[in-house]
Structures are given as structure tokens and as C-alpha cells.
Symmetry: C2
Subunit: 191 residues, 2 copies
DNA sequence: ACACTAATGGCACTCAGCGCCACAAAGATA
DNA sequence: TATCTTTGTGGCGCTGAGTGCCATTAGTGT
């Protein structure tokens, strides 16, 4: 059992660190996969076994965090109004311990500030939206593919991204407050 | 005055037609820029002068239509509730004459059904969202960069895309109805 | 005819990404 | 200790997007 075969030469986390070091220095576009490979002390070909694409590096292990998101929503009290449950779930999902804030901020600044990454992220967001759509569908007795669950998922995403942009623009605000503000702004607007 | 120098060898519209012919046959990913160039009867290098990237071809002249969008919103009665004005503006912007429906449908099916194009489209949508943000800011005496105008822009986009997906999934519906349904679904959800 | 102008398109290059495969480094087996 | 098996590594070579450079082409104006 356990470890047979040649041991790994690196890890996702190590590659990520090496990549972020270079991105911070030269910017995302000016860093090549060969550069990252060299910085991480690994072959270029190996890099592509750890990350499907250069665009995937900044997102790290995002997909794995979605299980946590699913669980957060599943634990929401049933008697909470649906929109409130979703909103709190989104807020909870985006809570990070204080010591993780700087790196989280750097990551989101990179993603939301680099056009190539903004574009690529849509594909990552799809799984995130689906988590919401499934929760909404479950509570309303609909299918996740129905119009309303998908609408809620994409609107929640729109709010989250808008809040993140605001948070990045102003270092004094906190993210949860931004999410609340975006949500209450939307509700007033639609009234 | 007028036309000096060598005359153009093609046009955006002609390239678009050639490209869509090939995309329909083989799918977006299986068509290379060299293929499109050959089909349009121009050099590959010339193609890149008409379209910045392969991903830009399906969007065609989208940026130019934004002036029309701006105008639609500007003409909305001032006494219309803001959310209603925005909603009607979005609906108007997405009205197409009956004879243009098939090609519009094909275009949107290609864009929304191809991951590479879904991703790239974010960059195009940004200008669209800004049109809305500017209108909202204008009516509320805010800056387009403020949280609420940006929120409204991104939520309107989320609704529009969701409605388009529904429209594409079901050939019997019409887009305006889908937009209405998405909007009223959201309003009920937030109540 | 000759100058001028503007688009064309060929060439060569960088870089992402991928298939292929020889090889390295560990544990398992005898 | 020697060999077998397993599994990750990384080099090689390719395709395709996108770009800078520049000679060429096909018009207009004098």
C-alpha cells in the first residue's frame, strides 16, 4: 500500500508559490510556463500535469472548496428565507481567517485584474453557480437546470464578483460588508 | 479624397460568413485561422487585421451596437422606475427582426455553447455592462464606478445570459418572454 | 509615366498545450 | 543483493494562436 513508484518532484502548492512569486514580479502575461517550471525546479512538461493550463494556476484547488460550499448551504436552517440562506452561504464561503487575507487578496487581485484570467474564470465559476442552483432547486422542488435556480446562481455570482471588485478597490472595507451592500442595493433597486 | 491605396481584399462580414460556414461544419475548435483564411480567400496574416483573435470572430461588430444600446436607454422615459427602464432597454436591445432570428440564434448558440467563447465573451460583456452602469449612474447622480451601478450592470448581464440559455434550450420560446420571466423570478425570489 | 498611399500576405518567431516515450526512483519479491 | 513492477518525470517534437517585420500589390493623384 501507500507510495510505490517514483516519488513526486513537487506539489500544487509549491508550483503555486513559485508562480505567484513570478507573477508579482513581472505580471501574469510576462511569465511563461517555462519560467514557472524553472522557478519551481521542475520540467515544463511536468507543470502541465499539475495544472491543465497557465490560467488554472491562480485558482489553485478551487474545485475542492466547492464541497465545503455545498455543505455550508446544506446546513442553512430550512426556515430561513431562500434568498437569505443563499446570501449567508455566499458570505460564509468567502470568510477567511485574518492571516489568510493578504494572500487571498493577492490572488483575487491577480484574477480580477488580468483579462486572460477574468475570461478563464467563467469556466471555474460555472461549478460554483451550479452549487447554488442545486441548493435552490432542492428547496423549491425544481431541477437545477430550470430557469429560476440558474437565475439565482448567476445573480449571486454577479453580486459576489461586484463585491470583490469593490473590496479590492478599497483596502479599508471588508468583504462581508461589501456583499451585504451589494445585496441590499439590488433589493432596493428592484423594489 | 476617399479611397487611396490598395483596395481591401475582404470585409468583416465576408470573413464572418466564411468562418460560420466552417464552424457549422466542423465545430469552433476544429477550425484553424488558416482554414478560415483559405475559405475567405485571404492570407492568414490579413485575418488578424480584421479580427484581433479567433474568439472575436463570432461577436462580429458587437461594439458598434453598443451605441444603439446607449441610445435606447437614453430615450427611456424619465418617470419609468429605474429597474423597469433598464429591463425594457435590455429587452429592446435584444429585439431582432424575424428574418435575422436564425443567424442570431446560430451565433448565440455558438458563443454560449463553446467554452473558449464563453470565457472570451466576458471581455466583450464588460463594455455592455458599462453602458448600463453609466445609465444607472446618470439617473441616480452616482459615478459609473460606484457599487450600485456596477451591481445593476452585472445583474442585468446575468439575467440576459440566463435568459439566452433558456431561449436556446427551447426553440418555442421567445427571448423577450424569457427575459421577463428571469426578471420576475428574481424579484419574487428577493421578496 | 511616376510618385504616393494603404492594404496585403509571406516569413519567422514566441508561447501554450499535448502526445509520445525513454528513463528515474521508489517499493515489492525472491 | 539482484530483479521486477509501479508510477512520476521530463525531453522531444508537433500544432495552432498571435505578432513584428517588410517587400509587394493595386489602387489614386499629378
Amino acid at each position: 500500500m501507500g507510495s510505490r513508484g517514483r516519488p513526486v518532484a513537487t506539489s500544487h502548492a509549491e508550483i503555486e508559490r513559485a508562480a505567484f512569486r513570478l507573477f508579482a514580479e513581472r505580471g501574469f502575461d510576462a511569465v511563461t510556463m517555462a519560467d514557472i517550471a524553472a522557478e519551481a525546479g521542475v520540467g515544463r512538461r511536468t507543470l502541465f500535469r499539475y495544472f491543465e493550463s497557465k490560467n488554472d494556476i491562480p485558482w489553485g484547488q478551487f474545485d475542492r472548496t466547492l464541497d465545503g460550499f455545498r455543505e455550508i448551504l446544506a446546513r442553512m436552517p430550512e426556515d430561513l428565507p431562500l434568498h437569505e440562506a443563499v446570501h449567508r452561504g455566499v458570505r460564509r464561503f468567502n470568510e477567511f481567517p485574518a492571516e489568510a487575507q493578504p494572500s487571498h487578496r493577492a490572488r483575487m487581485r491577480l484574477i480580477l485584474g488580468t483579462p486572460a484570467l477574468q475570461a478563464h474564470s467563467v469556466l471555474r465559476y460555472e461549478a460554483w453557480r451550479r452549487v447554488i442552483a442545486e441548493y435552490v432547486a432542492g428547496r423549491l422542488g425544481l431541477e437545477p437546470g430550470d430557469l429560476l435556480p440558474r437565475t439565482v446562481g448567476s445573480v449571486a455570482l454577479a453580486l459576489a464578483i461586484t463585491a470583490y471588485e469593490g473590496w479590492l478597490a478599497d483596502p479599508d472595507t471588508d468583504l462581508a460588508a461589501m456583499l451585504d451592500e451589494a445585496m441590499s442595493g439590488l433589493r432596493d433597486y428592484l423594489r
